[in-house]
Symmetry: C2
Subunit: 202 residues, 2 copies
């Protein structure tokens, strides 16, 4: 099957938070294609989504145009919520409500870095373990005291909800998801194609 | 001083090739700002440039709007040429000529992954050592027999010209440039902020 992977982008999203996973899932599909020349199936289709279909300015200014918006988009199997400066998104009920409602339909929803705060606000982490950027661990504990916030983990996999540590840990988590959704061989070959030294949980 | 870092983007540019270095230099400036609260100087200003000022579609579809184009842009201290599918750019005399002429004015020009082919075509690697993605080492040797193509290196630093290995090696090389242009402490803190395990040359 082909999983549709949707990455939420917003003003001040951290560039590597969304670009790292984007690279992993698109590269995994390319590597899979080379390994399975007779197959027309690709494991992942990746697209970006914005709250509205207007350009967003990622952190430090990179300008990206999302493929879709909250109102009109294909079915989402894997929803990825990156972090960055999430202050505005956290206060935006339309963002939080969308994450909460769409996550009922996804196979899994995952956050990168401070994206965990958005999942927590959307009520997706209640009674679950989670992680975030090392600098924000304490804030996550204080703001959401019912969470079991883990440190020193590249990612925390709670089945339908997965959270990762900061920035580049999103690449490690995405490789883990490639392993989980397809197989370990594809995750290893994807890391090799990216010349990336995959750090797994200890 | 503030170095202006210019990243060339084009159709089918590899996402992590440009996004990794973008993250490194912008994060380095942020980290520097936290460490030097009384200073108003940031070490790096980062922007993207396209051949013309129109959206480009990075590899697999990510749509980005470059900040500037070949005709109008600020002074460039550090020019970064990412890779990806470079077949069209390699045949485009306006791209190759621009890289050749603008590199005479930069402090340094660096490539990521198959971006090395564009530097070679622009004549910047004559008689120099260089590297590229492991999958493209042989092609680089065949197409440009005067180069000394190195394997198993994360980057090759030839002073005004620096080349890196594939995709994520652009992050390692960018951290090296942060060390070279500012200092090692800032490079290490930037890697820590990105939760990135910096792989240096052995």
């Amino acid at each position: 099957m082909t999983y549709s992977v949707c990455i939420f982008v917003f003003d001040n999203v951290e560039v590597l938070d969304f670009a790292g996973p984007y690279e992993v899932f698109t590269t995994a599909s390319r590597v899979y294609g080379k390994q399975n020349l007779l197959s027309s199936v690709t494991p992942f289709e990746v697209f970006t989504i914005g709250k509205i279909k207007e350009s967003v300015r990622a952190r430090a200014g990179l300008k990206i145009d999302p493929d879709f918006d909250f109102k009109t988009h294909p079915k989402i199997d894997v929803l990825l919520i990156p972090g960055g400066v999430i202050t505005e998104a956290l206060k935006d009920a339309s963002v939080i409500n969308w994450i909460a409602s769409i996550s009922k339909q996804t196979k899994l929803t995952a956050s990168i870095c401070t994206g965990a705060f958005l999942l927590a606000k959307a009520g997706l982490l209640e009674g679950k373990s989670a992680t975030t950027h090392w600098e924000d661990i304490e804030d996550l504990r204080v703001m959401f005291p019912h969470l079991d916030v883990k440190e020193q983990m590249r990612w925390v996999d709670e089945g339908s909800i997965v959270t990762s540590a900061g920035i580049s840990a999103g690449i490690d988590m995405s490789l883990h998801l490639v392993e989980r959704l397809v197989n370990r061989d594809l995750a290893l070959h994807t890391a090799r194609q990216m010349e990336f030294d995959w750090t797994e949980n200890g």
